[in-house]
């Protein structure tokens, strides 16, 4: 049902969208500015040399590599754990079912700083030195919920009779999973995995507590924000990060848009 919007409502709605998007557009503009000491507006001139400078900076490449590796490993762990949890919660009603779903959402419902500091103090108590795996441990924990949400939503739409039919036709549980369940949830898994990757790639709050001296791309950006060296280079990296996170989100959206629960509706 469509209603005609009054002028005031239109202004408020489109104004709100502009508020959400203009700042991102500005970053693109500032990536080309010739001024590297301040954030002067309008930029005194435009140049593409910062892209070249950024390309040749080894510290950026190192941070990028670490971020991609962490995000990839965390996504794989989250895919496995999230699917298992979704299957368990969906296929049976058991005591504590509500508690399990709350438990899975908890790492994302509580402020990130709490997750971060509790992990850090736990590493301290257990004498675990900071490493690649301490970062992954934190990231995988809050990525599970994204996969879980997507897969549970898909399970709800998949008819249970499909599984029964497969069993009636003589397939065992593993065959049913491989040939009936997996194809049904494949796009939900892909969407969930993409979102988990985007979430991990971008995470900074928990990472500051679990990374030690290592630097992921967001951590690199954070240090540049606090102590800027070449401001336009930070802008170039920011543009790159926007591009890298937009792609998985768009893909996830188009994979799940026909379902009632669209991927990413809740972060």
């Amino acid at each position: 049902m469509r209603y005609k919007a009054s002028l005031g409502l239109k202004v408020a709605a489109f104004g709100g969208l502009a508020f959400l998007h203009v700042p991102l557009g500005l970053i693109f503009l500032y990536a080309f500015t010739t001024e590297d000491k301040s954030y002067q507006f309008p930029p005194p001139g435009l140049t593409t040399r910062w892209f070249e400078v950024a390309w040749n900076r080894q510290d950026i490449w190192d941070a990028l590599t670490l971020s991609v590796q962490v995000a990839a490993v965390s996504t794989v762990i989250a895919l496995v754990l999230g699917t298992l949890a979704a299957a368990a919660v969906f296929r049976s009603r058991f005591f504590g079912r509500e508690a399990v779903s709350l438990f899975i959402i908890l790492p994302i419902a509580l402020p990130g700083i709490i997750t971060g500091i509790s992990l850090r103090s736990a590493f301290n108590l257990a004498d675990i030195p900071f490493s690649f795996w301490t970062i992954v441990l934190g990231h995988a924990t809050f990525c599970v919920v994204v996969v879980y949400n997507n897969v549970v939503a898909r399970f709800r739409r998949t008819s249970a009779s499909l599984v029964e039919a497969s069993m009636d036709l003589g397939a065992d549980g593993f065959q049913t999973f491989r040939y009936v369940v997996l194809p049904n949830i494949a796009t939900a898994l892909l969407a969930g995995g993409m979102l988990a990757f985007a979430l991990s790639f971008d995470e900074v709050i928990v990472t500051t507590f679990t990374a030690g001296q290592q630097s992921t791309l967001p951590i690199w950006m954070l240090t540049e924000l606090v102590r800027p060296r070449q401001r336009p280079v930070t802008n170039v990296v920011a543009v790159f990060v926007i591009a890298v996170t937009f792609v998985p989100i768009l893909v996830a959206y188009f994979l799940t848009r026909d379902t009632e629960h669209v991927a990413g509706a809740g972060k």
Partner: protein
Amino acid sequence: MTTAVATAPSLGRRLSNGLYRRPTLLLLLLLAPPLMWLGIVYLGSLFALLAQSFFSIDEFTGLVRREFTLSTYAQLFSPANVDIVLRTALMAAAVTVAAACMGFPIAYYMARCTGPRMKAVFYLAVMLPLWSSYLVRVYAWKLILAKEGILGWFFAQLHLTWLLDAVLALPVIGGASLSVSYIGMFLVFLYIWLPFMILPIQAALERVPPSYLDASSDLGAHPGQTLRHVILPLAFPGIVAGSIFTFSLTLGDYIIPGIVGSSRLFIGQAVFVHQGTAGNIPLAAAFSVVPIVIMAIYLTWAKRLGAFDAL
């Protein structure tokens, strides 16, 4: 089964049949890995943290004394620390109210006044910022709020620099420039968490049956009255659901107050400072209990208002 030639079923088949007959075992097998992961990694460390809030720090050696005491909590209630908590809670409340006021028209427009195409565009336009890089979006505001940045330029073009200066001269919320004032911090928080408010409100509005609105206007209500007496009460759970996000996220954030705003601490920063440079883990732990408690109260209240049905 009376087949004479009984071929031994494969291992996989026997395993799968066995599991089929024991659904509880299968359930346990499915649940064990995720629950063990979350239980050990997440809950384990959360409890380790909470336990430490009952330890205290030795004034002389600076080491953590591992015996039960409430002295850390007493420290938490010192005037300076209560100030930090109040400041953060006030900011979170202000951001939540502003996000609701700004998000409602957008959500309303999305839910009621768009065709399928436009709705998809709006949906993506709200979701992309929500998922795109948090730091990059904070950074964008550093460009905007800087003294020589775009907002200052804008005011200068309109010959309104005096207005900006007057606002910045206000006692508490002002500062030397927008990027070191509470106004700036408020704007950044609002910008970052706004999408989290829009989506639940939109979901709640989608569920309001159009026939209610028709009935309301048939009975002689003008649009304002319909909004006030029909739409708002039905959308309220959505607003509360959105406020859970905006409130909780503002409460725990420590990056934004560090980059934009004055040097006065917020809860997140207090946690960060105490665990880092000060090395006072017990106090940091006690501080991080504050948002947990506030959110627990908030969630109980929200649950009573039916906010969870709108998520």
